[in-house]
């Protein structure tokens, strides 16, 4: 399994055209460890953009075979405003995702970012970095400008 555990640090500078936030439901902090950020390389197995929470499933090859990770994220509208739409990803796409690992040990993460090397498409869908609030920034007008400085994304 190509899995990099924290403290692989993601340096992100977020510039938002219009401030805004989607308050997460209480599940984020309860279920996912913000101090345990992981990086996964895999292929998209399923995309389910819905509300209140969307999921993107990633197949990850490991030494023990293939494991499907469930990446949980924001409701559909919030994702569309950030530039992640139903047309963004296709099953079989090779991607690198980052996110906060599920506390209960299941193969799950709260997605922070998705990067598709084939065309260098990327999107940031993580929590706020400044206040640590249980909210997500960057839902203004969809022109979410991202500078991800970490080499992994």
């Amino acid at each position: 399994m190509n899995l990099s555990k924290s403290p692989r640090k993601i340096m992100a500078t977020l510039l938002f055209a219009v401030p805004g936030a989607v308050a997460g439901h209480h599940t984020w902090v309860v279920e996912y460890d913000r101090d345990d950020v992981i990086v996964l390389d895999g292929t998209v197995a399923e995309v389910n953009l819905t509300s209140p929470h969307s999921r993107i499933f990633i197949e990850v090859e490991g030494s023990d075979g293939t494991e499907v990770w469930a990446g949980e994220t924001w409701p559909l509208g919030a994702l569309y405003r950030r530039g992640l739409t139903n047309a963004s990803l296709a099953v079989g796409d090779t991607v690198r995702v980052t996110g906060e690992r599920a506390r209960d040990g299941r193969p799950g993460l709260h997605l922070r970012s998705i990067y598709r090397p084939a065309d260098e498409w990327r999107v940031w869908i993580g929590l706020r970095q400044d206040t640590g609030e249980n909210t997500a920034e960057g839902v203004g007008d969809g022109v979410n400008q991202i500078q991800l400085e970490d080499e992994s994304v």
Binding site: V18, P19, G20, A21, V22, A23, H25, H26, T27, V30, E31, Y32, T50, S51, P52, H53, S54, R55, A70, E72, P75, L76, G77, A78, Y80, R81, A102, R103, D104, R106, G108, H110, R128, T131, E133, N134, T135, A136, E137, V139, G140, D141, G142
Partner: protein, 235 residues
């Protein structure tokens, strides 16, 4: 008489030309001024899609919570939170950020369409008394009136709910919510002052103010799906 016939025909052509040209021009002169005109009042300009102008979540001061209110908070169990059943209460509709709301102002009603949970509120402007036989609901029953260009809304008939997530700031089904929608026409900013009075849970009103800006995107679908949360909570 050929000459007279010719004259008559020419007059007829002139009349027809007059009709063909003048009437449309006259119609344009009547209609055109309506285009590009500013709506007459701030009331008209409240119609539109609004999004919170500042980031974060409204977390009003609840230091004056009563023992009964504190007991409700202490007993909160997220596994039984209505939000997991796609039921969003009035309080959290108006503190959770990021989702736009569309306001439609008409003569006798203001309709507020929230993207969040696709919740709908109807504010009746032509009523002054709350009905006694209307069922309580997550969004309650709202009656409003205009004070100049400020929309003042009172909401009753609320089911008990929460102002914030994670079991913070409950209100009972006896709560009365008041909102004041104020539009800055020049800045195109909508300020909403909200207040909840619930003597059972608070010794005074719980208040917060939210500013909204015009949204530059559409209201997206929110087909709430029970069980779409992380695995831990629906177990």
């Amino acid at each position: 008489m050929p000459t007279q016939t010719f004259v008559n025909r020419r007059e007829g052509m002139r009349t027809q030309a007059f009709r063909n040209c003048f009437v449309p021009v006259l119609a344009l002169l009547v209609v055109l001024p309506a285009y590009g005109q500013e709506p007459r009042t701030g009331r008209d300009q409240m119609t539109g899609v609004w999004i919170r102008a500042s980031s974060g979540v409204d977390r009003p001061d609840i230091s004056h919570v009563t023992a009964a209110g504190q007991a409700v908070m202490d007993a909160y169990d997220q596994a039984t939170d209505n939000i997991l059943r796609c039921l969003i209460d009035w309080g959290r509709l108006n503190t959770v950020s990021g989702f736009p709301m569309e306001m439609i102002v008409s003569e006798n009603q203001v309709t507020i369409l929230y993207e969040y949970n696709h919740s709908v509120r109807r504010v009746f402007l032509d009523q002054t008394e709350f009905p006694t036989d209307y069922p309580p609901s997550q969004v309650g029953y709202s009656i409003g009136h205009w004070e100049d260009d400020t929309l003042v809304v009172e909401t009753r008939n609320l089911l008990a709910g929460w102002i914030n997530m994670e079991g913070v700031a409950p209100y009972s089904d006896a709560a009365v919510a008041t909102e004041r929608f104020m539009l800055d026409r020049e800045q195109r900013m909508l300020t909403v002052e909200r207040s909840v009075e619930d003597p059972e849970y608070y010794s005074g009103p719980v208040t917060w103010t939210t500013e909204y800006a015009p949204a530059q995107f559409p209201v997206y679908p929110y087909d709430c799906t029970v069980g779409s949360y992380g695995s831990g909570l629906e177990d």
